[in-house]
Amino acid sequence: MKPSIDEVAQFVRARISRRTRVPEAEIADATILVDIGLESVDAVLICGEIEDAFQVEVEPSVMFEHDSFGAVVDAVMALFEDR
């Protein structure tokens, strides 16, 4: 079943917050992920967690191809459409 965008956003925001130690409240749609210190290791691990939680394949490069948090969430949502 396809999750809502809020569910995905909340999930991804929490993982990014945990790995970058930036409070969730400071991660807005326009937040540029590399600016808050997201690194390639984080991308690999967070994408793995998204895959486990939502059963959708997410390439880690998605985290960098779409710079902002909101764009990444949109890109993940688009993967559900392709599923």
């Binding site: 394949e57 390439e59 880690p60 490069s61 960098f64």
Partner: protein
Amino acid sequence: MRVQSPARQDRISGPRPRRARFVVDDAASASAAFRDRAWTVPDMDLFIAALERDGAGDLSILRQVARSSIIYQTGADHLATRRALAGFLSPTAVKRWRSVVDENVGRALERLAASPRPDLVLDFTRPLFVGCVRDIFGLDIPDDSEFLGDIARARSFTEPLLPMRRLLEVQESYRRLVGAAAASGRCQPGQEAPASLAAALAGRLPQGVDLATLVVSVTVAAHTAAESLSYAIWGLLREGGEAWRQVTAPGWAEERLDALIRDYSSTLTLYRVAGAETCLNAIAVAPGDLLALDIPAINRSLCREGSGRSLSFGEGARKCPGAALARLLLGRALPALASRFPALALVEDDVRFERTEMVQAPVSLPCTGISAARRRRARLWDITDKSLARAIATDNVRFSPPGMEAHLAALQRASGHDLSTAIRIARNAPFFLSGERHARIRGLGFAALGANRLEAWQGLIDMQIDRALATLERTPAPDLVRDYCDPLFRTICQPIFGIRPHDPALFDRLAPALQHVLEPLRSLPSILKAQAVLENLLDGFDPPAAGEAEPGLPPSLYARLETEAADMDPLDRKAIVLVFYGASFNVAHTLANIMHLLGTGADDRRHWSDPAWVQRQLDRRLLPAGASPRFIYRVAVEAGEIGGVRFAAGDTVRLVLDQVNRDLGAAHLAFGHGLHRCVGAALSRAILRRAIPALFDRFPTLAFPDSSPAYAPNSQTLIPAALPVRLDDHPRKR
């Protein structure tokens, strides 16, 4: 010269005598006609008046154009108007506009540089034209786009046989342009710049000539200079990188500009009408006969004669009065453009031309090579400029290869997964290393794979090529990738690297996975999967036994490592061999790419079997165009600027090889450059320079039925997956 109408005696019938139509396509006849005052221009005033009489409505603006434009004027009016214009447009007078042209060129270059989708017409030549006529002719142009639309419609007045609706559009455009010109006539006292065109002409024109209409008609004609500039840019870029580089050479404009204007004339046809009896090439001409001057053909005849001059501007009493201004514009704009954007290249598929009976010019010239670096993502830059790419590739202080080992180690710590084999591969791959370890492995690699070391392997290379050719010949549905490139790679590289697989079939099936080592940001499951394959491959062959080398052959890479790197971990030595082998898959892909390029290109195929030709062209053209690696990655060690681009520490730069290598010739970056130059470059060249001519020598009529090969999915390497070929029926026997 051609006569296109029937012979004169046949055409004296009916109420109107039929006119002869001459077409001149050689310079001598053209010069004779240009200088013969019997040839004049069609009487447009009379033509428009006739239309009005026949109920076409008020065409008074067009009649004013016909009377005020020197294109249509004749006799004393024409002479007087030319004299008035000469004070403003003569070669001497035009010199004072040089700085104004340069300022506008600068502004147009900035606009081009800032364009998200740069187009040399939309973002350079047209804005330059608008800026120049605004500043030089003193026009108020509130809306560039509307102005250019009106100029284009007004220009079409010179086209023969326009339908009535088009003539009315032309008139409306002239009405707007003349109205604006009459309202502006800018002449600002106290400025050092010379007066506006209107101010310069005021009081010097013959009776009946409208000042504002003349200014507009000159402006419309001046647009031809911008079209010529667009056409010349297109021509130079089509001629290639060397022609474009030459534009920046000192004295280029003085030496080459006239030939350029000759070769890329935007004017296609000029018409003349005989106003009196005369002769053209000993053929009698009657009043009313028509002459079409085919300017490109006339210019070609000048080119054949070796003449540097052109007739693009006409000649004699009706020579284009704006020729000096056009020369100034091209002479200043082209070197500035080539100097600012040395890597400029056309997006050929999207180039659009407009061609009418009278003119031809590009209307859209999308291009690349404007920005040296393009930010693809927040921390990733694509480098397409060759100079910047070379600077980065050789700057080992400010840029380092991607730290794959550190990335995998961090991932191992964070994920809890054992990634030790993947880390070992990364730790022994020179393309992920810098510093002492890189220098050590690089040195060990060159000791085995340097050009001087490979001479001893030449016999093996030749033998395997012969075997592969023999196999290819026997194969019912031959495929160059499966039956030539891949077997050559395996049978040559495995002995040279010292790989003797326990199970060759299994090893060969798994080994292509080595190519994915380069792919950035793989998911954890795919890393674990790749690692399992790497472990299989590492287990799949043993270190060479002492004295294992074949008689007459030098020690393999692995054998050298066993003696020269005895201090290293044995598994690291094996990993080095495997990494080098994985990187050498590029030989097979590059060989396939080059042969496909040759097979579908325009080169004379007789060259392809000539080893000397292949040797000459290998680095000049074949490798830059056919090398399989698509990118070179570097990471900025610290924040800084290079080539005008500011990088932050940790930014990744990606050298985009297909664009960087364009026009670089032998200086290409297909094998990288500097400290990180590919260790296997000499081996690649040794195989390619033999395998290419040998194939085409054995199968002189080899053909590629598919124009586009299938490619294997890989984001970093161009890998032809299959390349079916037709061999000839009677291959050359050895």
